[in-house]
Symmetry: C2
């Protein structure tokens, strides 16, 4: 399946949403956009299949299709312990060659839009958007200076992740990465086996029995409190030598904050 | 170990932080505060040990010590599939009786404080605080109307979670929950087996080779962009009958936003 042809991910036993089906989404655009606009994703894996205990760690995740690949993949960056790959291969080297199966992982990205205050604690909720990807991870092994591997794809992923922090940042920083930086960068490429998103955007939903009880409605305020992630004023490092914050940064901060407020459908408080 | 006596969690093979040890924290206060101030945690588990694939889902997590318990536990609320408990018991009923082992889970809560823009993509980072708990989950089974179970603890956890959304919300909503609400509420109690936190708060950290290169420092702005979660102006539900937003809500919004700005050590942009 190519990224142009496939507009939705297949439902699988892993990804099918069985509760609140009206909140389920399987389209590529929704799933990718949730992942790519969330600063931190949570990646779970099983370090030791002989002692099946899950681990979940925060990492940066971005979706992209490496030129030549038929499908989009999730590229994740964070501290990747060698132990992630040991169980798959039975050896201490990472599982990166095509013959290796890779490591089953699950990636979740979640954005809270509103705190939802209903009449009863039971009906309290969040409006939110979440995406969950089930996939298979392999480490993009850089090889060695004499026997380099995956260089183009590692640089592709580093750029995807850097521009995912601030668009345009890659070409406005010192690039390309040098040999030592590439050798030390650990990027996981996750083949997407199945994926789904769940979106709640309905605000307060109370039960008739409470809505019809004037003692309750006369006492309990109900509504939503927007939960908004904003970017603050950029603060230069002590070692910074550039007099003004460049426009690609200040413009992005402005644009991010305008979008954040629209998305939450609410204005910021004037604190 | 009682919550008064224990000030730090024991390091275990699961929780020990082996990279960037200077960022590691094992004290109870740090770990609990990260979990309890994060609106959504990510909980991972293995639905089927015979086919070890991890799942991670967003849930609300709060730490509390139920009166009479010797230790604090993490109470988590979210959609809990029956499948979580089936593998543990070999039957379709939840694993809640003392004889059941419970389900191994891992809970992560992460807060981004700053986007960190360094001279090179390689040194880009986030300032962040994250907590990871390894534990064992059991479902607080409400039993039936005729044979009720765990009622006090379910209500304790519902209150902990409701007041975790907005402090004081419990007593300002329609309480106590009725029979149907208690029977439908799924709370997992997680015994904390080990836990750790990781905090990066050092801003930009560049390598000498780049700091000494005037071609780079003369071209690349470096610094941090605060990442701040703020609460917006509360918006009443259509069915709301209360004229003004109560002070316990508007005061909390104000206080939350003041604290968020101090924590990120930055002011909001004036968009």
């Amino acid at each position: 399946m190519s990224s142009e042809e496939v507009q939705t991910y297949l439902k699988s036993a892993d990804s099918a949403i069985n509760r609140h089906k009206e909140r389920a989404h399987y389209d590529v655009e929704t799933i990718h956009s949730i992942i790519s606009t969330t600063p931190v994703a949570h990646v779970s894996f099983i370090p030791d299949p002989s002692n099946p205990k899950p681990v979940v760690l925060p990492m940066i995740a971005r979706v992209g299709t490496f030129p030549g690949d038929a499908e989009p993949a999730v590229y994740i960056h964070g501290y990747v312990s060698a132990r992630l790959f040991r169980p798959q291969t039975g050896r201490s080297e990472p599982a990166t060659r095509d013959s290796d199966e890779g490591l089953p992982v699950c990636i979740a990205a979640t954005k809270i839009d509103n705190l939802v205050l209903a009449l009863t604690p039971f009906n309290h909720s969040y409006d939110y958007r979440s995406a969950v990807v089930h996939g298979t991870a392999t480490l993009l092994d850089p090889g060695t200076r004499d026997d380099p591997m995956n260089r183009d794809e590692i640089i592709y992923a580093m750029r995807l992740i850097t521009d995912g922090i601030v668009p345009g940042r890659w070409e406005n920083s010192r690039v390309p990465p040098d040999e030592g930086e590439i050798a030390s960068t650990r990027i996981l490429k996750v083949r997407i086996d199945s994926a789904s998103a769940k979106i709640r955007a309905k605000g307060v939903s109370d039960d008739a029995k409470d809505l019809n009880d004037e003692k309750t409605t006369g006492r309990v305020w109900t509504g939503v409190i927007p939960y908004v992630e904003v970017l603050g004023e950029p603060r230069p490092a002590e070692s910074n030598k550039i007099a003004h914050v460049p426009e690609y940064i200040s413009g992005y901060v402005r644009e991010h904050n305008e979008k954040a407020q629209v998305t939450s459908k609410g204005g910021l408080t004037s604190t």
